[in-house]
């Protein structure tokens, strides 16, 4: 595998997420029906196919849709069979339809899961379902996976975790007197890790400029902290990211930098970047690039 090929990174990412999904479903009683996972894929991939056809996009694949479907399956729980399919479809459609300056606004899985949670009956998110054994495995996988990627992909993850842990230590441990074990307990939360490694780090919905990326993670971490610990509301990370995503177009306007583009061919260490005004749709490559 070419170490820095971004295509390969997405394959690695999909593989890791699938492993977590499989291990969790088998070992941790995710109360997730395999049929729900299949239907999530059916919904998400069909939506991708239809959107690509309707928009006439030819040079795009299904990798991001697959990752979205896994993300929806990992986070969303439901007592019916249609919720996962609809949430995954909504996630993929949002990628093509909710766009500012040629860039989709919301991380698709984040959007799909919250749409499912808010609009569909019989849905919930089990934030505490992972348990500490899974968390350890998760950290190992996460560390292993980031070693395959360049700093560019890890920046948001580590900056978010630093901000979150920093706020936690200063406010909760030092000021409020909570024991350090409470912090460690929160770091075992699979939802936090999934969020940090696979959601906020999504380069397609992140601000383009490095400074803006850091600012964005600070805002997401701070909002999530207040949401959870001051207002006692659930699913803080997901809501925080959803709302903060609306700021990304503002950051991109204030801090100019080339826009990220996934590259679908190997052999080079460079991610394809394109000026944002050239960019039209997710997974589409407006610049000429040979596709193997």
């Amino acid at each position: 595998m070419t170490k820095d090929s971004s295509k390969n990174i997405r394959i690695v990412q999909a593989f890791l997420m699938l492993s977590i999904l499989g291990a969790g479903a088998v070992a941790k009683d995710f109360s997730l029906d395999p049929v729900q996972v299949l239907l999530a894929f059916l919904g998400g991939l069909s939506a991708q196919y239809i959107c690509l056809r309707l928009l006439g996009i030819k040079h795009a694949g299904y990798q991001s849709a697959i990752i979205t479907c896994i993300g929806v399956s990992l986070l969303l729980r439901s007592d019916n069979l249609y919720a996962h399919a609809l949430a995954a479809a909504a996630a993929v459609i949002s990628k093509f339809s909710i766009r500012i300056s040629g860039k989709h606004v919301f991380n698709p899985a984040n959007f799909g899961v919250l749409i499912g949670l808010s609009l569909l009956p019989g849905t919930w998110i089990s934030a505490g379902q992972w348990g500490s054994g899974t968390a350890l495995a998760f950290w190992l996988i996460a560390f292993g996976s980031v070693s395959l990627m360049r700093l560019r992909f890890q920046l948001m993850t580590w900056s978010f975790l630093t901000a979150y842990v920093g706020i936690f230590i200063f406010h909760r441990v030092l000021w409020m007197g909570y024991e350090t074990s409470v912090l460690l307990h929160h770091l075992e939360n699979g939802t936090l890790l999934l969020f940090a490694f696979f959601m906020i780090s999504d380069p397609k919905t992140a601000p383009n400029h490095t400074a803006a990326k850091l600012l964005q993670t600070l805002i997401v971490a701070g909002t999530a902290y207040v949401w959870q610990f001051e207002f006692y509301m659930t699913n803080a990370l997901l809501w925080s990211l959803l709302f903060a995503s609306l700021l990304v177009p503002v950051w991109d306007r204030l801090f100019t930098a080339p826009q990220f583009e996934w590259r679908s061919f190997g052999g080079t260490n460079n991610d394809v970047v394109s000026p944002s005004h050239n960019f039209r749709t997710a997974d589409a490559r407006p610049i000429a690039a040979p596709v193997r």
Binding site: R77, P121, G122, W124, W130, G177
Partner: protein, 449 residues
Amino acid sequence: MLPRSASAFCGFYVAKADASLYNKASQVVLTHHDNKTVLSMMNDYKGDLTEFAMVVPVPVVLQKGQINVGDRKLFERIDAFSAPRLVEYFDPDPCQQRFAADMLMESAPMGAAVRKGMSAKRTKSLGVKVEAEYTVGEYDIVILSAKESDGLETWLQESGYNIPSGARRALKPYIKQKLKFFVAKVNLKEQAKTGLTYLRPLQFAFNSRRFMLPIRLGMINADGPQEILLYVLTKDGRVETTNYRTVKLPTGMDVPVFVKEEFKDFYRSMFDEQVRKENMKTVFTEYFWNMGWCDPCAADPLSPEELRNLGVFWLEEPSSPITSGRPQRRFAPPGRPSGPVPVMVTRLHLRYTPDTFPEDLFFQETQDRANYQARYVLRHPWKGSIDECPQAKPYFEQLKDRREREAETLASLTGWDISTIREKQQSSFEIPVSENNGNGQDGWWKNLW
């Protein structure tokens, strides 16, 4: 019966001198809807009543009308209704066992003398403010606010309580969150008037966005794992913890018939084993069902009045249950709901230590409405002769397989030794062997040695 080594509660017990005060498994009913909470707490305090004290962090200064002394029977009722159950399949009446009846509060001996109040000046100098004082039922209650955990600890100590070491650290986060402290002790005169030999449950109602249960204070004087049975009453869906794993206990398994005689041991061992497998870091769901019906019923559903007494404020006055097409498996007696009511009960059971549960319990009401109960199945074998008919022999062969599966299930659930299980199975019912065996047919070798 559950392990007795636990001491627990949302608040902690504080003792004068060095008396060892232990609170075993606590039972809590947490009724929550629309940012309104009613908390009912019953503990099986054993000890001198003069030394009883309970400290619970609460979000607001409670008015007298928000505090109530409830009826212990309500806990017995909701416990019996939601208890794990054993069913027999050959018998039309399902077998019902109520292991948790063992966890009821035991009577506490009467003591003497009540602490004297502290001067207002001293109270103020410690940064402690007595926000309100009431006598409700047999309890003298003060609601305190504090600026510093040191001051609060000193106040409690100087008021005559021997605060367990570590209280200061546990109190601090609650003070920083600007929570108030509900402190209850027994008023012996009032207690004598009740004529009861036990303490009745305390209930309080308040508005708060927090859907949580403070358990950390209760860990201060623990000398081993503690245990809580928590009944959460909500309007719509199953309740789970957001900061700990919540799993349903294994259910619906066929287990050997001798389990009927030792269901309490079985359930205790199974719970021990599940706790061990999860490293004592998990909250277990034992029951989730509508409060209006059950199948099979371990006890009659609670009446609307009983539910209201447990804080279900959204239940309308006239006891008119929602009618639905859902089949009702048990006809309730007069005054009981005869079908689904807009009240769901989630029964959660947790065993914990300060290390495995470093934070209070935070909950969410999910939209999951799938019924769940911890239920175990006995299948009594047919006790005829193997030579009675041609079908008998295959039946007993299948029975042998089934019995082995049941033994394996039981061993895996409880961690019991499988050979002991097999022996017990054998002594409870010996599978007949055909007299033809040993005549050159199947099992010809059985009579050789």
